[in-house]
């Protein structure tokens, strides 16, 4: 599925300073019954966001109007657990384009990159400074520059660089995906597969 190209993103951010946010919290299993990729944003963080009677939980950050933006900032080990890409879809469909954490679970990170969300891994210190900046001013603007591989707290100029391999970077900046790449090397795969043991 096509996604928006990622170059520079400047936005306020939504803070979620909880460790080990697992994909069952991001999207509970009972919302995985669709056969199309539609409407997952409505159920993002469903059980943290809504009571059993579907009324919003006022103390959850997505229900607090002072926080908004296209960047979600989470605690350490974000996206652990299930391989459900629905978790990344829910985050994208809600309107986030970038998730910042000090540590990401592998499958979530892959899934995010595959659908056009940039996972930005920062040091624990820097993550802490982002949380503090947002706490002081919920409208704090973060600038994520994929080309330069930097994330900056604009109010203070505090900045850190992040890693991404050049292949994935190129894909994100141009809106390409792995399926395009693999289709272009079908013959090579075919030859390799004919000679494979299984």
């Amino acid at each position: 599925m096509a996604y928006d190209k990622f170059t520079v993103l400047t936005s306020s951010a939504v803070p979620l300073p909880i460790e080990n946010v697992d994909t069952d919290q991001i999207i509970p299993a009972r919302f995985l019954k669709a056969t199309k990729r539609e409407g997952f944003g409505d159920n993002l963080f469903r059980d943290w966001r809504y009571n059993g009677d579907d009324t919003p939980k006022q103390d959850f950050v997505l229900n607090n109007a002072i926080y908004s933006g296209k960047i979600l900032v989470g605690g350490k080990n974000f996206g652990s657990g299930s391989s459900r890409e629905h978790a990344a879809w829910a985050i994208y469909d809600y309107g986030f384009r970038c998730v910042v954490s000090s540590f990401f679970a592998d499958i979530f990170k892959n899934n995010s990159l595959n659908i056009g969300i940039l996972p930005v891994q920062v040091s624990e210190d820097f993550l802490d400074r982002i949380f503090k900046a947002i706490e002081a001013d919920p409208q704090t603007q973060l600038e994520v520059d994929l080309s330069k591989q930097t994330i900056t707290i604009l109010s203070t100029g505090d900045s850190e660089s992040f890693d991404i391999n050049s292949y994935k970077k190129h894909n994100l900046m141009n809106g390409f995906d792995d399926i395009d790449y693999l289709q272009a090397m079908k013959e090579e795969i075919s030859t390799f597969a004919q000679n494979s043991r299984y």
Partner: protein, 468 residues
């Protein structure tokens, strides 16, 4: 041939690299691809949108398991959304010529149970599925891991995925395990030591006498939960135990092909002198029956211990407090004696015949506690048939239990098997996340022996007090 010592992981990975991209991922050929009803529909939709076909339909196998009911499987599925996903799987597999073991098929069951059971899983393979517990198949010396739906579409359309090679970790467990300690306890112990993120970025090899002496069912339980410490996957070198398990299974090689395969499989082990990026050593004698007290699988403890304090463990205080509050527990209190409401035995972690034998060994001659609801769910129809043939079914009925039909069931509670809010479930599954077994449900992960002890006493009980 290079004389450089090579790890099991490298041997299998390197044999499958179609192309390496500089400062990027490897293009990896996938030998076997499992699909199920929940994570495949959007991938098939993607194929249609892009007008792509399935490159090797005979290398993909489908089974329905995640949202299937575990009672009355002969009736139409009541939930229209679940029924729609099952129908989509049936139609998609049919239109692309992919094998499909749907509801009612005698080979139906949980994807990570039926793969090995039918000899689809063989040593040295690369195996993926849109399910994180695909790591189960690593028990056979495979590189096996969970993938997202975009990758399911990649495998369908090109039989490849693109992933950077993981770092290598080896976890050695040697020594003698004491009575009542099962493979589930071994893996819960390891995860409690490494934490829920301790192996993120790594592919794990399990080595040492504890794994060498373990059955294939036990090895599958251990590899299954590799993902619960963040590992990409886990694997164990194949040996005679592996070959004996595979021999004679439907899709296993036969005749000369068998001999050739075994000769190759015997080369699938880590050479002397390989240096791992990280290595851990544990003593099997230190492990006791385990139980979890929190909301991630790393929050486990020996059943006779006290719940740790935030200061004892490497985690944020706020997250730790949030977790205990959800569970309704406090620091420094015992788990033994806590009243429980539900028991679930099953899942891709502990839904194999050995698990039901263990459960039966405790409940035999005892009665289910009156206030406990127990869901006993075999991993497949083959397991269900074994339960009946071996007399386990009679033991269960005699003790006041019922046997349900195969599926993922209360492990992720996509079907009707949901633990009610606030209730405690001793569960042989793999995740104790908030709401995993139903909104508000509180999960205590444990072995089939601990589950059985809880089922007959109604409280968290050390199974060693009930077994001879």
């Amino acid at each position: 041939m290079s004389s450089k010592p090579t790890s099991l992981f490298d041997k299998v990975w390197d044999a499958h690299v179609v192309r390496s991209i500089a400062d990027g991922p490897d293009v990896l050929l996938i030998d076997r691809h499992f699909i199920h009803e929940v994570t495949s529909p959007v991938a098939f939709l993607g194929l249609k949108t892009r007008n792509l076909g399935v490159m090797f339909p005979d290398r993909t196998f489908a089974t329905a398991d995640h949202n299937t009911p575990t009672i009355n499987q002969h009736l139409p599925v009541a939930d229209p959304l679940s029924a729609n996903q099952l129908k989509a799987l049936e139609e998609n597999t049919s239109s692309y010529g992919i094998s499909h073991w749907g509801l009612g098929n005698p080979k139906n069951g949980i994807v990570h149970v039926v793969g090995p059971e039918n000899g689809i899983t063989l040593p040295g393979m690369t195996i993926v599925c849109g399910d994180s517990h695909t790591s189960t198949h690593g028990a056979f010396g495979c590189i096996a891991f969970g993938i997202g739906t975009s990758e399911v579409e990649m495998v369908l359309s090109s039989q490849c995925i693109m992933q950077p090679k993981a770092k290598k970790m080896r976890i050695n467990v040697n020594g003698n395990m004491s009575k009542g300690v099962t493979p589930k306890d071994v893996v819960l112990y390891i995860i409690s030591k490494l934490t829920a993120a301790g192996a993120t970025g790594y592919f794990v090899e399990y080595a040492g006498s504890v794994f060498e002496n373990m059955s294939m069912e036990g090895r599958m339980t251990v590899c299954n939960m590799s993902i619960e410490m963040g590992a990409r996957g886990g694997m164990i070198a194949p040996d005679e135990t592996t070959f004996n398990y595979i021999k004679g299974r439907e899709k296993a090689p036969k005749g000369q092909a068998w001999d050739d395969a075994v000769a190759y499989w015997k080369t699938l082990k880590t050479d002397e002198g390989v240096v791992f990026d990280k290595e851990y050593n544990f003593d099997g004698a230190d492990i006791e029956p385990m139980i979890t007290y929190g909301t991630n699988p790393g929050m486990g403890m020996g059943i006779s211990q006290l719940i740790p304090t935030a200061a004892d463990i490497d985690a944020g205080k706020a997250s730790f407090a949030k977790s205990l509050q959800y569970m309704g527990f406090t620091e420094s209190e015992p788990m033994l004696g806590k009243k429980i409401d539900y028991v679930f035995i099953g899942s891709c972690t502990n839904g194999r015949i050995e698990d039901f034998r263990a459960f039966a060994s405790v409940v035999k001659g005892r009665k289910k506690a009156d206030h406990v609801t127990a869901w006993i769910v075999p991993g497949s129809h083959v397991v269900e048939a074994q339960i009946r043939e071996e007399g386990i079914y009679d033991i269960l009925i005699e003790a006041g239990f019922e046997l349900r039909q195969p599926g993922c069931s209360a492990c992720l509670a996509m079907n009707d098997d949901k633990i009610p809010a606030g209730k405690y479930a001793v569960s042989t599954s793999n995740r104790n996340f908030e709401g995993r077994q139903g909104p508000g449900a509180r999960t205590l992960l444990a072995s089939p022996l601990v589950a059985a002890a809880a089922a007959v006493t109604g409280i968290v009980t050390d199974p060693r007090t009930l077994i001879a």
